[in-house]
């Protein structure tokens, strides 16, 4: 492996990070607000589908209503609130309560924390120098390596 490959890879990955960041900010064709809203609202007469995905009468009506309200100059939040007032918070597929978002993230953060503490509490495994190895041991090691590998 040539010495320049490593730094080049680092530079390339950094460059890619830049590209991805630009891609993330500019977005592809940023989805229209109506589409995003429809994907966040639950279809009242289906099971576990959003209004965007469903073609039932109720879903069609809600999509039409979203477009009409946006055309009338309402903001996305106002439209969302309109449907919450009408159907209750049940209509939101993305639950509004911050607890719904915080609890699982806290659980993951806590488990990473516990793991970190557990690892730091331990001393690193002692490093043993390779000893002189006779043929018998070599064969045994080869055997064990074979059975361990995979």
């Amino acid at each position: 492996m040539r010495a320049w490959v490593g730094p080049l890879a680092v530079a390339a990955v950094l460059a890619l990070g830049g590209i991805l960041a630009v891609a993330a900010i500019t977005g592809p064709r940023a989805e229209p607000v109506a589409q995003t809203l429809a994907a966040e609202l639950r279809c009242p007469d289906c099971q576990a589908l959003s209004v965007a995905e469903s073609r039932t009468a109720a879903a069609n009506a809600i999509r039409a209503e979203i477009s009409a309200q946006l055309a009338a100059g309402r903001t996305a939040d106002e439209v969302r609130q309109h449907f919450v007032d009408r159907y209750g918070s049940w209509i939101l597929l993305r639950p509004a309560s911050p607890l719904a978002w915080l609890l699982p993230l806290l659980a993951i953060a806590a488990s990473v924390g516990v793991l970190g503490l557990w690892l730091l509490r331990r001393r690193p495994a002692p490093v043993t120098e390779p000893a002189q190895v006779d043929d018998e041991t070599r064969r045994r090691l080869a055997r064990e390596a074979e059975s361990l590998d995979g």
């Binding site: 959003s50 995905e53 597929l93 978002w101 609890l103 659980a107 070599r138 080869a142 055997r143 390596a145």
Partner: protein, 674 residues
């Protein structure tokens, strides 16, 4: 006659399972081999009786015997034979019978296979499996009797759930899933046996991993087949909705996958043993939770069966399994404590640790999100929803991190690593990934989801491919074999490792396809008169005709079908339909799907006017969806390759032969880098 036989078979099977529990327990305490053998025979007989009951049910369904309530609810005289037979698993009671059949099948297989080995463990494995089987037979003997009679006998039944008789995949998806679910009782039984006997060394790990991978293969295939079924049948253009019951299948899969990974650390390095054992317990408990969610009517879903009284039974079983398993684990905690703690370093152990945290995190998020609406409603009375936007937002980064770990984990050495190793193993693949991501931009891929996934997936495949090439080259050099032969021999002598690589490659293929299809789909809707056209992407769709007629194999079902000609990059015609079933108030969509290499043309009929010859069509152009299923096949193939037997015998024979010639040369790939 048949229902009497079926019910009697279930009652006797319950008695036999309870007897087997006692016999195994006695055999374990008194070290009495004949008692253990008697328990084993009782379990084999219970399997035979479960099979008899299942056959009785299938025959009753085929014969439309509406004196059985289950048949009257789920069958009609016009139901085609194929859908009659598979109605065994189409609703609550029948699916529990099917479950018991598969569970006793796995139990019999395992007890028979290991009858002369693991003399300490097997009685307790038997106790656990017999007790779990007894639970399912008891459910059928009391709250969920599949052979319950109906008087007066109706002349005609309701027919199966319309959604479930619409596609032959109904014959494939549930059995695969149930084989996975029920098979996961086996590792749980070995876990319990290891904890009870205190034999928590490497012995149980090897068996348990094998017996987790086998159900895992079925579970994976079942989940992919379910997604495929949903895509082909439901007509909304997608394949995964984070529906509670999809989540119920995903949770044990996530926990089992975590186990498969942590067990490697436990086996190779003696670490993570408590965690590994806990995962065995969690995986099994999550299969029960899945059953509870599907069968008890606590969640509303495509899959949820009618509300029933079996909920409390499953709730108790879940608590017993969880409490019993974790109780045993706590009791054995001192013996399980890690002998060699993993060092804090950039090493394969660390990658595995992080992998486990992520898989468990995913499981927790899915469980939390699935249960939250129930918990909130029970606590406050308020009804809330947790759906796809929530799960996607939280889980997508976790999955991305897992894919990254898939690249670096297998390529990092155990114990620790140096900068030069990192550079040597990852620089090339990283460059390749950057290059292909740029190519992706040029090909029109956009957005962080598509490009980020592409980058990660190429990185993974690059690293794994490099590992394989380096291993094969090294083997070719030391053995003088042609490189392809060396690669094949290397792979077949290290099945777990290279099968695992194939699984990872399949997951990467699925990840790219999911990312692109989820963010790159296009859709259009139009109402067309006969002869009118619409366009989407490069395709022009023209409505040729609208036909209304009864189905040839079931005249009670009226199909409204629109025939559409399409032209563009590909041309041809397809039919998309709505079917009116007598058992369903809303028509069931039968989308027309044409699969091409890079995209699917997916047409759903929204509404049709047969007289005027007009149809409302919803058309999706879904990129790369077919590659999700291909990726699923690759994953399953990789896992089958990894679990294929014989490896050890061959490998040992070869090492023995090589040892006679020249021992060091037989050290394979892992240590073979220059």
């Amino acid at each position: 006659m048949l229902p009497t036989i079926g019910h009697a078979a279930i009652v006797v099977a319950l008695a036999l399972s309870l007897y087997a529990t006692l016999a195994f327990g006695l055999g374990a305490r008194r070290r009495d081999r004949s008692a253990v053998a008697s328990g084993r025979h009782a379990m084999l007989a219970a399997f035979a009786l479960a099979a008899a009951a299942s056959v009785a049910m299938m025959a009753s369904l085929l014969g439309h015997d509406f004196s059985i309530a289950y048949v009257a609810r789920n069958n009609a005289t016009t139901t085609p034979p194929f859908y009659s037979v598979i109605s065994l698993w189409a609703a609550l009671e029948g699916s529990i019978l099917f479950w018991a059949l598969l569970l006793t099948g796995w139990s019999g297989l395992v007890l028979h296979r290991y009858r002369n080995r693991h003399a300490e463990l097997m009685p307790w494995v038997g106790v656990t499996l017999a007790l779990v089987s007894a639970f399912f037979f008891a459910v059928m003997a009391w709250p969920g009797n599949p052979f319950e009679r109906l008087t007066p006998v109706p002349a005609e039944g309701n027919g199966p759930n319309a959604l479930l008789q619409n596609h032959p995949f109904m014959g494939l998806h549930p059995p695969l899933l149930y084989l996975g679910y029920t098979g996961l009782a086996v590792p749980f039984a070995f876990g319990v046996a290891a904890l009870v006997t205190g034999r928590t060394q490497a012995e149980w790990l090897a068996i348990v991993r094998r017996w987790t991978v086998i159900p895992w293969i079925f579970l994976t295939a079942g989940i992919v087949a379910g997604a495929w079924w949903s895509y082909e049948v439901l007509g909304w253009g997608g394949y995964w909705a984070w529906d509670p019951v999809e989540n119920a299948a995903l949770m044990p899969w996530l926990a089992a996958t975590a186990f498969i990974h942590s067990s490697m650390v436990a086996e190779r390095r003696g670490g993570l043993r408590v965690f590994t054992m806990a995962l065995v317990v969690f995986t099994f408990v999550l299969t029960l939770v899945g059953t509870f969610l599907t069968r008890s009517g606590v969640v509303a879903s495509v899959h949820a069966f009618t509300a029933s009284s079996i909920g409390p039974w499953f709730a108790v079983a879940i608590l017993l399994a969880l409490g019993g398993g974790l109780g045993l684990l706590l009791w054995r905690l001192p013996a399980l404590a890690d002998r060699r703690p993993p060092p804090l370093a950039v090493s394969r152990e660390s990658a595995f640790l992080l992998n486990n945290v992520l898989f468990l995190g995913l499981t927790v998020v899915v469980l939390f999100g699935t249960m939250l609406p129930m918990v909130v409603e029970a606590a406050t009375g308020e009804r809330i929803s947790v759906g796809a936007p929530y799960f996607n937002a939280i889980n997508a980064p976790l999955f991305a991190a897992l894919i990254f770990l898939m690249a670096i984990g297998p390529a990092l050495p155990w114990g620790g690593t140096s900068w030069s190793t990192i550079r040597e193993r990852f620089a090339g693949p990283a460059l390749l990934a950057v290059a292909l991501t740029l190519a992706g931009v040029l090909l029109g891929m956009r957005g962080i989801a598509q490009l980020g996934t592409l980058f990660l997936a190429v990185f993974v495949v690059g690293v794994l491919g490099d590992e394989v090439v380096r291993g094969a080259r090294s083997r070719a050099r030391t053995r003088g074999e042609p490189p392809p032969v060396a690669a094949w021999r290397l792979a077949t002598r290290n099945r777990r490792r290279y099968g695992g690589y194939l699984v990872h490659a399949g997951i990467c293929l699925m990840a790219i396809s999911v990312a692109v299809s989820a963010t790159g789909a296009r859709q259009a809707a139009a109402t067309l008169d006969v002869g009118e056209s619409m366009t989407i992407g490069g395709y022009t769709l023209t409505l040729r005709e609208v036909v209304v007629e009864p189905l040839p194999d079931d005249a009670r079902v009226i199909e409204t079908r629109a025939v559409v000609d399409y032209g563009g990059a590909q041309s041809g015609s397809l039919a998309t339909a709505q079917r009116d079933y007598p058992s369903s108030t809303t028509p069931i969509a039968t989308p027309g799907v044409r699969t091409f290499a890079t995209e699917d043309l997916y047409v759903t009929l929204l509404q049709a006017d047969a007289n005027g010859g007009a149809a409302s069509l919803q058309v999706f152009l879904n990129p790369l969806v077919a590659w999700i299923w291909v990726g699923g096949f690759v994953v399953v193939a990789g896992a089958v390759f990894a679990a294929w037997p014989e490896r050890r015998r061959l490998a040992m024979a070869e090492v023995a032969a090589a040892g006679r010639r020249d021992a060091p040369a037989s050290v394979p790939a892992e240590g073979a880098s220059p």
